[in-house]
Subunit: 234 residues, 2 copies
């Protein structure tokens, strides 16, 4: 290890087998997560599943929380990919909105424990929010693009042009449709609110807060999301 040369990206045999075992561990952890949830995910059980003694796993993940962080990032990526795949850029904005919302809900219902890990209570003392931001933004980017396309196609009414970075940050404004005369802070607040309302709706259903209030979750969800689409002008 004298120097870091040009060909360092050529993985050595050691690095390859290490990457493979790391993947094997995260796969086992993901299975555990899906079965018993994040709270009951045990590094020792993961180790048993991959045929290692528990201490050996620490060669690959410095702590249980690091392993969970890995699963969080992977979860955000999977959810983001599902949202991106559900978008149909040619369609009308409200059709696209509903399709993406449905995809988010479907992913959540199919992966309840992973969804809870992403959007439920933060599990450890405080994991690593910074690493997770890019992956976590993917759904927001999809929804923001729908809003921007709607504005560019002239669907949204003219707006006042209010702009206050302390209300909605510049970064978020760029994602939420970008610069367009039909998008001002009122629209951005509505969009942000709609975004969190989607997760509020999915979380309530998944965490049982709709028990006794909503019977047909599918139909309720579609109607709620349609109301939201109307709120942001789609």
């Amino acid at each position: 290890m004298l120097s870091k040369g040009i060909l360092d990206h050529v993985t050595t045999a050691r690095e390859r087998v290490r990457a493979e075992l790391t993947a094997e561990i995260t796969d086992a952890a993901r299975r555990q997560l899906a079965e018993v949830g994040a709270a009951a995910l045990s590094l020792r059980a993961v180790a048993r599943e991959v045929g290692l003694v528990s201490s050996a796993v620490y060669r690959y993940f410095p702590s249980r929380d690091e392993l969970l962080t890995r699963l969080i990032i992977d979860g955000y990526d999977a959810l983001g990919a599902a949202a991106e795949a559900a978008d149909r850029p040619g369609e009308a904005p409200r059709v696209r909105w509903l399709a993406v919302c449905r995809a988010v809900r479907a992913w959540a219902l199919a992966h309840p424990h992973e969804y809870a890990l992403l959007y439920g209570s933060p599990v450890p003392g405080y994991s690593a929010p910074r690493d997770t931001v890019p992956a976590a933004s993917r759904v927001a980017v999809v929804l923001g693009r729908i809003l921007g396309d709607a504005a560019r196609s002239g669907l949204l009414p003219a707006a006042s042009g209010d702009r206050d970075p302390s209300l909605v940050s510049d970064d978020a404004a760029a994602v939420l449709g970008g610069d367009h005369p039909a998008i001002d802070d009122t629209v951005r607040v509505r969009a942000l609110m709609a975004w969190s309302a989607v997760y509020g709706t999915v979380s309530f259903e998944l965490f049982g807060h709709f028990v006794g209030s909503v019977e047909d979750g599918d139909r309720y969800f579609d109607r709620a999301m349609t109301e939201l689409a109307a709120l942001i002008g789609l």
Copy 2:
């Protein structure tokens, strides 16, 4: 213990001291919860704080989850009381709506771990949703009463009168303003959606999903809740 007579509600000395120790345990548990969160709440640490050996606590709570269930119910009651106290039945509906929403957010910010216990990921395998329902409904009852008062004061426009118990249950419909020609299923869906949107907004802020997007949480929250009020017609 031959019979359960008329004066059984007169607590015996034994029952009184038992109730006192039970309260002491739940108080200690609540302090622990506020400090370290539900995931790290340890029955042994609670026992240490009240000066008991861990096994003695099992005389009062059959398991850690039962203790958590107690804290969940207490939390719902505290939040519900805060919401009820914030309501001002004489004021305009949208003023009342905003006041109650602010109270919910304020309580959540003041008791983040308790809020996470109530509205974050369900902690155990599955606690006891049935016992918690009455306490959990209190906030919804307050918001529903505001909607009903608005309808009775003629603020809401006439509605189509749609009624579909599989979309919104009869129980929920009774809470959400009750029977009134201005309240149909569209309004009920909007109200239910607004309710979950409130928690989506608070949860996003509390769980860090607004980091990088919203700087001034107070102002954002007020504007978002105002948009919601407009959506349900207040």
